[in-house]
């Protein structure tokens, strides 16, 4: 696949209070970023189960982004700390599985950081473009 025509598939989990609001603000401010990203709304970044991230890769996602409030700003006080720990662990698991851990991006974006949201999406998209398509993680369960 030619690098410049490759469009990576990105799934983002955004917490309702900060990063989802930041993405909303990017829209309200009519900032522009690539179309590759699909945002899934979660109450808090800590809701994101590691299995969900792996499932995304399994389904052919080239990158997964988890975005939450800045440390200390979590709407639920401590959720993002758990996220940070859990995703660190997941990253090493990904390496173990042969998935480039850089395909998982954990980012803190507040509700008023529309620019940061846009910049993050832009840079992640172009990085994934350079990295190329992710190798498929096979589902070893028997298909129904």
């Amino acid at each position: 696949m030619m690098q410049d025509t490759f469009e990576p598939k990105i799934i983002a989990f955004c917490c309702n209070w900060c990063s989802y609001a930041g993405a909303d603000l990017a829209g309200t401010g009519r900032l522009k970023y690539p179309e590759n990203i699909r945002i899934i709304r979660v109450p808090c970044s800590s809701r994101v189960d590691s299995a969900l991230v792996l499932r995304a890769f399994q389904n052919g996602a080239d990158g997964v982004m988890i975005a939450g409030c800045h440390p200390g700003d979590c709407h639920y006080d401590t959720g993002n700390y758990h996220t940070r720990k859990r995703m660190m662990l997941l990253k090493s698991l990904m390496e173990f599985m042969g998935l480039d851990e850089e395909r998982l991006l954990v980012k803190w974006i507040s509700g008023n950081e529309a620019d940061r949201f846009k910049d993050t999406v832009e840079s992640f998209t172009s990085k994934l473009k350079k990295m190329g398509a992710s190798g498929k993680v096979r589902d070893l369960r028997c298909a129904k």
């Binding site: 598939k9 799934i11 309702n16 989802y20 609001a21 993405a23 909303d24 603000l25 990017a26 829209g27 309200t28 009519r30 900032l31 522009k32 970023y33 179309e35 699909r38 945002i39 899934i40 709304r41 979660v42 109450p43 808090c44 800590s46 809701r47 994101v48 189960d49 969900l52 499932r55 995304a56 389904n59 996602a61 709407h75 639920y76 006080d77 401590t78 959720g79 758990h82 996220t83 859990r86 846009k118």
Partner: protein, 658 residues
């Protein structure tokens, strides 16, 4: 299952960048979708009735909306569902405006994305679960912790609304720090004159119960249903019998430094905190009592005409249930001995602002006379040092104590008024006068003769002259040179700090503190009196340095919150709470420590296995406390924990469509 999909144009906002008809057409082919429509404005009355009609006509039981951000109109659509007799959590919204049409420039690609987003929402709606908020009754009684001006105000407001209030104070009298002050800025009202009527009102109010000399022992429960244990320390004085005649105080032979006067006077071992104390009954300080130290004395017991002295009295534990708790625990002042350059603690004429406040107070240790502790003479030249321990990352507190600028201005005004031949010099970093009539007050201080020198003091040293004076070396930013002033008295504006026990109390109440140790409000702008724990509110300096009017208004704010809660009579929880599948739960309890609301507890269930009943632990959710963050669901190994509205199955369905 019958799903209706509605795509909003939002006028041209979506339609110009997304081919809405194609989106409707593409999603219409998905399983269970029986109806699709694109509408000019879904949030308008027309749009709403379009959805309503479609629900009736096609007997829809799920609705998927492709429109603006759910943060915008989710409640609008949920209310529509309610009106149609459908569970509000049967509506799903795909954000095709903020996350699509507004941020993209290629219509073809944006349309593909919009289709994806709506498909994702349809997939999520397959697994939607009906959700209901839990209602719990509220115990209409409030606990106010801290009997300073903030606590008194909160208690009075709630009591005036007709609800019973318990006011808890750890000292033997209510009144707090304000009782120590002389005058208040910027009006120079006498502090006691405006405070004592409120103290008396609180003590005599039919709805207020005072618990002085008492501390919080334990708290459990949640909003509307807190269970609290109060430890009432033994005063050794029977409150019922004591008439407050004061004979015991007069005759007590043990003298110790009076903390209320900052050590500038003595008090007895049996004492009332100050003359206007409420309740005005003495307590016995066992640490300093001769009887308790040596077993001999007993003068107070002998002299008491009503036989109220009881050396055998023990601490009492009082248990009560409350619907709301107001935290108004106030502050402490930093002991500036660590700032060696100011010589505090080494030279008696270096004092704190609160010491000066006591000196100036007509009912203080000197009846309002100024004196130099070293020789008792009246000081002629007084140097004030601002930010002594505040705004100091290196050796103090990094924050601003907020009230020092104004009370120092007050001190210079009072000194110039009472003793016109005193000179006052103020070394400052910034003078902050944000508040009604505060700038004018500062102006008045300068006009009356206070000299404000911009620059911090580097050293205070004894001159070693016969008068035992002090040399203050600072910097005068206006002249741009080092400046020395020979002073008779040096006054340090010490830093405001959280109470020693603040952290422990926070732990008991399940509230959090900021990095400075002050309690954190739920939202810096919009929830300034609430905490992360529902039903617990913050008033006064325990939340951060503030002046009296601010503390009082915040206190009234907390009272309003409590009254609203009591008036409603019940608490409605968040519908999107955690849920446990007991069959899957292994009872590992990994979820418990990550819950920021202490909503998870262990519960034993009985199940039948192999024909035998056996008990097994599982996690159990208190839906009144749970706020639905999902931290528990995110880590649950067995997949037993889930969050309503964001179940694992729903999120998986979303991931799978993409």
């Amino acid at each position: 299952m019958k799903i209706g999909v509605f795509i909003c144009w939002c006028g041209s906002n979506i339609k110009n960048m997304v081919d809405v008809e194609r989106v409707a057409e593409a999603t219409g082919k998905m399983p269970h979708v029986v109806y699709t429509q694109d509408v000019q404005y879904l949030c308008s009355e027309v749009g709403q009735s379009d959805i309503g009609n479609a629900i009736d006509e096609h007997q829809l039981d799920r609705v998927v909306i492709g429109a603006c951000s759910p943060r915008m109109h989710e409640t609008t659509f949920q209310q529509l569902m309610n009106r149609k007799g459908l569970n509000p959590y049967y509506v799903e919204i795909a954000n095709i405006r903020e996350h699509c049409s507004w941020v993209h420039t290629d219509k073809a690609k944006a349309t593909v994305k919009a289709i994806d987003l709506v498909k994702k929402a349809v997939a999520k709606s397959y697994y939607a679960v009906p959700l209901h908020a839990e209602s719990l009754p509220v115990n209409k009684r409030a606990l106010v912790i801290g009997g300073g001006i903030a606590g008194i105000q909160a208690a009075l407001d709630i009591a005036d609304a007709g609800y019973p209030v318990d006011l808890l104070e750890k000292e033997s009298s209510i009144g707090g720090k304000m009782a120590q002050f002389d005058k208040t800025f910027p009006t120079l009202d006498c502090s006691a004159c405006i405070l004592t009527p409120k103290m008396v009102e609180a003590a005599t109010h039919e709805n207020i119960t005072l618990h002085t000399y008492s501390e919080l022992e334990d708290v459990s429960g949640y909003v509307g249903n807190f269970h609290v244990t109060i430890r009432k320390r033994a005063t050794s004085v029977d409150e019922e019998r004591c008439t407050g005649c004061g004979e015991c105080v007069t005759k007590c032979p043990a003298k110790v430094d009076n903390e209320f006067d900052q050590g500038h006077s003595k008090r007895k071992a049996i004492y009332t905190l100050f003359a206007q104390a409420v309740p005005n009954k003495p307590v016995l300080d066992r640490k300093n009592c001769i009887y308790f130290k040596t077993g001999k004395c007993g003068v107070c017991k002998k002299i008491c005409p009503t036989d109220a002295i009881n050396y055998e009295m023990e601490d009492q534990l009082i248990e009560n249930d409350y619907g709301a708790i107001i935290v108004a625990t106030g502050f402490e002042l930093n002991e500036p001995t660590h700032l060696g350059e100011y010589h505090y603690g080494h030279h008696p004429d270096v004092i704190t602002s609160l010491e000066l406040e006591r000196m100036l107070n007509a009912s203080g240790p000197t009846q309002g006379k100024m004196y130099r502790p070293s020789n008792g003479k009246e000081p002629k030249r007084i140097v004030f040092i601002q930010c002594a321990g505040s705004r100091d990352r290196h050796d103090g507190n990094s924050y601003c104590s907020k009230v020092c600028c104004l009370y120092t201005a007050k001190h210079t005004i009072l000194l110039n008024e009472k003793f016109p031949d005193t000179e006052s010099y103020v070394f400052y970093i910034d003078v902050r006068t944000a508040g009604k009539n505060y700038e004018e007050f500062y102006e008045r201080a300068r006009q009356m003769g206070a000299n404000y020198l911009r620059g911090h003091v580097s050293k205070v040293e004894p001159l070693g002259d016969s008068d035992n004076r002090l040399l203050v070396r600072g910097y005068d930013g206006s002249l741009g040179e080092q400046t020395e002033i020979e002073a008779d008295l040096v006054v340090l504006a010490t830093s405001i700090e959280p109470q020693q026990g603040a952290k422990k109390l926070a732990g008991m109440l399940g509230i959090s503190s900021d990095r400075n140790g002050f309690y954190s409000e739920a939202h810096a702008k919009l929830k300034p009196v609430e905490t992360q724990t529902q039903g617990v509110y913050l008033a006064g300096v325990c939340q951060g340095p503030k002046d009296i009017p601010e503390a009082v208004s915040q206190a009234s704010g907390t009272a309003a919150k409590a009254i609203v809660l009591f008036n409603r009579g019940q608490v409605k929880g968040v519908p999107t709470t955690a849920m446990v599948d007991e069959e899957l739960c292994s009872g590992c309890m990994q979820c418990k420590p990550v819950c920021p609301y202490e909503a998870i507890s262990q519960e034993m269930i009985t199940e039948r296995a192999h024909g035998k009943a056996r008990q097994r632990p599982v996690a159990s959710i208190n839906r009144a406390l749970c706020q639905g963050c999902g931290a528990c669901a995110g880590l649950c190994r067995s997949g037993a924990m889930d969050i309503g509205g964001f179940t694992g199955r729903q999120l998986l369905a979303e991931v799978d469509t993409l």
